[in-house]
């Protein structure tokens, strides 16, 4: 038994060290709220899509405050690449930021300066200027990680499998029924819809 201890410790180190080095788990900030909430909203969006920006700026904040934070909605945000010139690059930076638990900072920075980097392609500057120098360095390293690109492809493939054709698309799941909303729905309309589902 005594001779097993060093081996066990070595095995434990082999498992723990990579997990610690990788930082927070991949989806810890893209999915927010309680997974047991009565309604799940799966949001497919593209960071260079103007209507996704509209949804992010005008609908999501109130949705998160009134429904996600109160346990009524579980929001899962997915990458879905359209054919904009910098869709992939912006998603890559957001995904890399997510790996270190900075998804919301990257997301907010990308949408806030969308018009600028959409013309110049300066996605690195847009995201990293919103992060600390240490976090920006980590993000720049993670951007080169093939698993980041794979995660984005996987999310896009998921959207395609669910018949997502445009962004933003919200798939509202309630009582096993999936209902797509394929536009930048305004918060008052979404609120009415969600309240109706919650009362039935």
């Amino acid at each position: 038994m005594t001779s097993m201890r060093p081996l066990a410790a070595a095995l434990a180190l082999l498992l723990i060290v990579p997990a610690v080095a990788a930082g927070p788990s991949g989806n810890s900030t893209r999915a927010i709220g309680s997974p047991t909430a009565p309604i799940t909203i799966e949001l497919f969006s593209d960071f260079q899509c103007p209507h996704c920006k509209e949804l992010h700026d005008e609908t999501l904040p109130s949705l998160i405050t009134d429904y996600v934070n109160t346990g009524k909605v579980y929001l899962v945000r997915h990458y879905f690449l359209l054919k904009f010139p910098y869709s992939r690059l912006s998603a890559t930076y957001a995904c890399a930021a997510e790996r270190i638990g900075r998804y919301d900072q990257a997301c907010d920075a990308l949408y806030k300066t969308q018009q600028s980097w959409g013309q110049t392609g300066k996605v690195d500057e847009a995201v990293c200027s919103a992060l600390s120098p240490a976090d920006a360095k980590k993000v720049r390293e993670l951007v080169k990680d093939p698993s980041v690109a794979m995660e984005i492809e996987k999310d896009t493939a998921l959207g395609v499998s669910q018949n997502v054709k445009s962004t933003p698309t919200l798939i509202v799941v309630h009582n096993g029924k999936r209902t797509p909303i394929e536009l930048a729905v305004s918060y008052p309309m979404l609120k009415r819809y969600l309240d109706g589902m919650l009362t039935h």
Binding site: S166, E182, V185, L190, R192, Y193
Partner: protein, 156 residues
Amino acid sequence: MGPWSVRRIVVLVLRVALGGVWLYAAYTKLRQPWLLFAMSIDAYHLLPEWAVLTVARILPWTELVIGILLVGGLLVRYASILGAAILAVFFGAMISAYSRGLAIDCGCFGPGDALSAWTLLRDGTLLTAALALAWLSWRSCHWVGQAVLPAPTPNQ
């Protein structure tokens, strides 16, 4: 003029075809929660919220009634005028949204029907057909199955 003149046949084809379109449009809206249709209307950014909700509740049933009247050959003149007027308003809204670059659903036949050059062409064609039917149906009253007031004679 015999009962099966060219004009009568054209009117018959138009009213049955357009009636079918109205019935299908009503079906696609009534089979889903009415608030989803309200979201499509709201996305045009043309109406205040109270008007969006009112239109979303009333319009599908109006489409259903127009469809039934046209297919059944009842009150064709009035149904065709109302249908043409509604289509003209739709088309105007679509043109407005398209010119503003809004990437939204047309809302014509339920969700997933994106506003595009194709939907403009399609609905423009429907509007033309609806206007033609309205014009033709007001010129005479002796159609098969139609129950309307007699059209004015040339001397009146």
